[in-house]
Symmetry: C2
Amino acid sequence: MKEVAVGIDIGGTFTKYGIVDKMGNCLIDGTISTTQEKELDQYLDLLKTTIDEAITIIKDPVQIKGLGIGAPNGNFYKGTIEYAPNLSWKGVVPFIEEFKKRYNLPMFLTNDANAAAIGEMVYGGAKHMKDFIIITLGTGLGSGLVVNGELVYGHDGFAGELGHLTIVKGGRMCASGRRGSLETYVSAPGIKRTVFELLADSLEDSEFRDVTFNQLTAKMISDAAKKGDKIAMEAFERTGRYLGEALADTVAHTSPEAIFLFGGLANAGNLIIEPTKRHMEMNLLKIFQNKVKILPSELTETNAAVMGASALVWKELEK
Amino acid sequence: MKEVAVGIDIGGTFTKYGIVDKMGNCLIDGTISTTQEKELDQYLDLLKTTIDEAITIIKDPVQIKGLGIGAPNGNFYKGTIEYAPNLSWKGVVPFIEEFKKRYNLPMFLTNDANAAAIGEMVYGGAKHMKDFIIITLGTGLGSGLVVNGELVYGHDGFAGELGHLTIVKGGRMCASGRRGSLETYVSAPGIKRTVFELLADSLEDSEFRDVTFNQLTAKMISDAAKKGDKIAMEAFERTGRYLGEALADTVAHTSPEAIFLFGGLANAGNLIIEPTKRHMEMNLLKIFQNKVKILPSELTETNAAVMGASALVWKELEK
């Protein structure tokens, strides 16, 4: 019987799942609404029913070895989802405890960026690396740190919150209530804010002079930059500077072999990678210079979180 | 026969050594000059002769299980000392390779702050901790990071250079050629520079109005602060702010259970610990607040590096 892991990625709107074998082949995957069922109990029932049905569709019989879950504010040690701003379950949700009532199987939960780090390590570009970092660029900036081949969870399970490094004292307002967090500059909304700062500051013409804040997307900014729009190009330059300067400090912490960029903004490729690398190098201590690679993630955006969550199962069961 | 480890701490002026048993009892220790012998070969001969003689003085026979060496810019993976500015051996020194010609025993080398971290873990306040950080405050600011019970060396053996975090863009000149490094603010020379900045900026009277820069010491600043000197007190407040703000970012990386302060400045106790803790808390993301302890190191300054270097032996041999 083929051994498989179930990878589950819980987002604010959708929950994705996939049944994945050890080689990283996804035998079947699908999506349910995260919000259709308000109560955790009903949501978990729906999730179980859906997974069980999916398994019956797979041609060959499979044996589930475990379930891996990636969720915002997921706590690896406690199996809880804690105060996740984009989920309707409030406070500290005992996710694993409740889900174990439905599957009496090994079950592991972590946050989405950590799941991506595990995915990169098991199936992606970090296969032979013991020390690397993944930065996920989306609505916010998430990160997963790997040291000595192990994910860094910290004493409380919440390590790797690089989106909340303070990079500008008294800088941009952050949803966390603090100011100047890295993710207010380096993320999809962050680069939009930078474009609007530049529209205010400079006299340069730009296609964005006729676009509202709410209309603007990160994709529009990278498209415009590729066409030579000066404001868009400068927005990428600044975003790379903010990220590169922050990563120089991160390198001084854990000296990784590579830093992978993943997610929407990372798809802009060299528009973001080149200035990030350049500004990181300018700020590195000499012993760290010309050593640390900045690479695009080798995970595809559609399945990275699910693959990562399933990889978490294999990784933990090996211990 | 009693099993012992030899701990060696190489400083710019002196090299300290100690013969330490597994319980942390130092059976004998001593010091040689690091600079008396210019050539590495002669220095290593002197070091070996001295250690061998010391062993003959110990009453009961001992068996050396290994040697641990703490040295500035020591590279754990390669056993080299690389471009150490305060040592007369230039370039990349193959320390372990050469020392192994004299002792055919397990031998481990790391930088001095990492050795202190291991010492804190094996003999000090971090005995039961798997995730902690030690900050050594002396001429510079060194650091050792422990994650999942293991020292963080990074892919190249140079991780944990928190003294070179950039905390003020375009800030104070640093010996590394960069500007605004944490250690230019938080270290013995750093707090002196802060006192002189305050003497320039404020009109407050201070006993330091009659002291030259070269006369001033960190000890004088803490003595003056205890007596209520406003400039000295404000210097500690600012030093704590710089350190606390930087540590908030460090917590976002590895979420440690505790951060230990070690060395000269740390001896000022609450003068430095209280503002550091307060400013760290003010800058922490909510999920990290009121969790991370700031503690004085439990190692004594006279033997911390030697104890740490010997602890490295036990730690590595256990693997």
